[in-house]
Symmetry: C2
Subunit: 419 residues, 2 copies
Amino acid sequence: MALIVHKYGGTSVGTTERIKNVARRIAKWSRAGHQIVVVVSAMSGETNRLIGLAKELQAEPDPRELDVIASTGEQVTIGLLAMALKSIGIRARSYTGAQVRVLTDSAFTKARIVAIDEARIRADLDAGQVVVVAGFQGQDEHGNITTLGRGGSDTSAVALAAALRADECLIYTDVDGVYTTDPRIVPEAQRLRTVTFEEMLEMASLGSKVLQIRSVEFAGKYRVRLRVLSSLTDADMPLEEEADSGTLITFEEDTQMEQAAISGIAFTRDEAKITLTGVPDRPGIAYQILGPVADANVDVDMIIQNTGADGLTDFSFTVHRNEYAKAMDLLNGPLKAHIGARAVLGDTRICKVSVVGIGMRSHVGIASLMFRTLSEEGINIQMISTSEIKISCVIEDKYMELAVRALHKAFGLEQSVGA
Amino acid sequence: MALIVHKYGGTSVGTTERIKNVARRIAKWSRAGHQIVVVVSAMSGETNRLIGLAKELQAEPDPRELDVIASTGEQVTIGLLAMALKSIGIRARSYTGAQVRVLTDSAFTKARIVAIDEARIRADLDAGQVVVVAGFQGQDEHGNITTLGRGGSDTSAVALAAALRADECLIYTDVDGVYTTDPRIVPEAQRLRTVTFEEMLEMASLGSKVLQIRSVEFAGKYRVRLRVLSSLTDADMPLEEEADSGTLITFEEDTQMEQAAISGIAFTRDEAKITLTGVPDRPGIAYQILGPVADANVDVDMIIQNTGADGLTDFSFTVHRNEYAKAMDLLNGPLKAHIGARAVLGDTRICKVSVVGIGMRSHVGIASLMFRTLSEEGINIQMISTSEIKISCVIEDKYMELAVRALHKAFGLEQSVGA
């Protein structure tokens, strides 16, 4: 008997028919003798409907009140799923985040989980109940309703799995796992049977948005065994087969065997590049430029500064494309003169392509293979940044698909990979 | 400065435009220096939508889970109204029933309020906030979400007014007060400026469904000054005029002045009559008949038993029309032989017309005027029952409008009435 946390997103519970399907799947696990906690999102479209209502009343909805409203989406789903389970003979009880309770800080609309009181859930599990918990929500120390922000249901599931020391946390979603790259771009992309936590972090932040990055961080911190798998398979497929499907996220120390050098090719078109030319090459210049940018709440991703000749240098960084205009306005203001830059150049027609792999550390030649592959395709590299387990290149955005396909092939990812 | 509880039903908050209108009205009271607590229902149609979803999953929805789902309707409204208030510069905070908290028993879908912790609300009021509370809901001692059943928002408002010792509880609704009878039947019907609590109870239970009867009982028990008034008037009408509009529900001891003999004519078509003929006239026979009826959860209203000749009597009573078939099936079964009744006769083509008035006690001749009026119209009276402040007659249903109009005129109700 194992204690398993299931999580189903908005699409999986988007209609009452789909909720019945989810109930059948859970019943299979429960009848096999497992203790099951289920975390669910709002029915797809419901959160947007509620936010739409709010915006009709306040252009910038009050965050506390927005959470009061938005949290009802998941509250409806938990009640419906508990009913669906009961109607097929499975004992079930639903809980809101406040009822569990999931204690968070008071950062409305983007709260962070502080603690989870798992006693009530454990008592229900021991009494043979399936426990259905509303994802995405909690309660602060003053009893206010909070939400964790978009995608927070993944984090709720992982946090509950951690608090309950669950054997595994299964994230059911509309993809069947983590791939070596996006199959829409590279048809030969392969599903990874396992991926390490660290790789997953890089993949998630780079655009393979299978899981919310916060939930992966949480899983890493509390060593939660996490599996991403499809909710679109037949609910009655054999349990053993389902339990082994999708992609298991492991921890580095767990991986005994030889790793493939890299696990996947990630990419994003969400960034824009800003370059300040002719900047004085003196200590503190990076802070002078990026301090005001950070103060304006603009996140910076890659940062490149080269040693300059004649006391001047070029300073480049990338920001999210949505924040590009804000950052450019800021830098073209009095700041430009203050820094003493010659010009502020912006470019939104870029993309970032990365190779990710935990095996990279023990394999030389990854970077050179990447650069050679791009060169052979005639693609100019504008910026490079590296970490322990990834190498990212900024290139012109029209080459993105070409670069991803070429790299996928060059690193041999079309052959079966994973443990 | 007074502490006032406002209550707005589903129609009054049925769209975001109407919620803005409600906010404007509340702002007027708040800016006049009053402390305001607002109780709201779900947006009209929302509770039915939620119950519809539930029934798609469970033909008889689990009561605990149904409350989890249904309570979200009011939760959305409180958030939206708080936002609407903030957007026009009024400080406001919303609370669910659980947050207040409104402690109830555990009778899901029809819970009763046990206690209200008003400390948090009072602190907010003292800090200058308008407090918006979800009606219709509470929390039991185990932390489960409960609902008070349909119309429970009125009860929530009155209970909060009692707990806070509010100066007045204003129930805003789509009628502009309590009338001497239904204006759709008697165009000359007059709005009552005041009505006593006891009269209101009789009026409410007899079909003038302006207020939920439980809320009136609650108001009587805790001496809450209750006013029913229209939410359809101009939100910007002068506050003094609005504060004096509608109908004030008073308590008997408060009424100093001469009362009109009767306050109104109530009526209902919701009942059906059942008569057992040739029943042995022996002790215990009423219990033998009505005991099993009560055990089957059928509510009985009027009961008539006459002294019989030759040791036999006829025994009649009325039930709600929805429960007529159930009651007839029961009595036509083995029970009929056990009782020794000759026949069980049913009649659904009846109605009940009542004159109600606290002044009735000190005025003779009310009953005889009622009977004479019906007689002059050629209407046969089938059953009569009387209480301290009302006389009810069962008549054939086709005469209902005629009887109501004749009685309204005979008792002089088309002249202005009330305090």
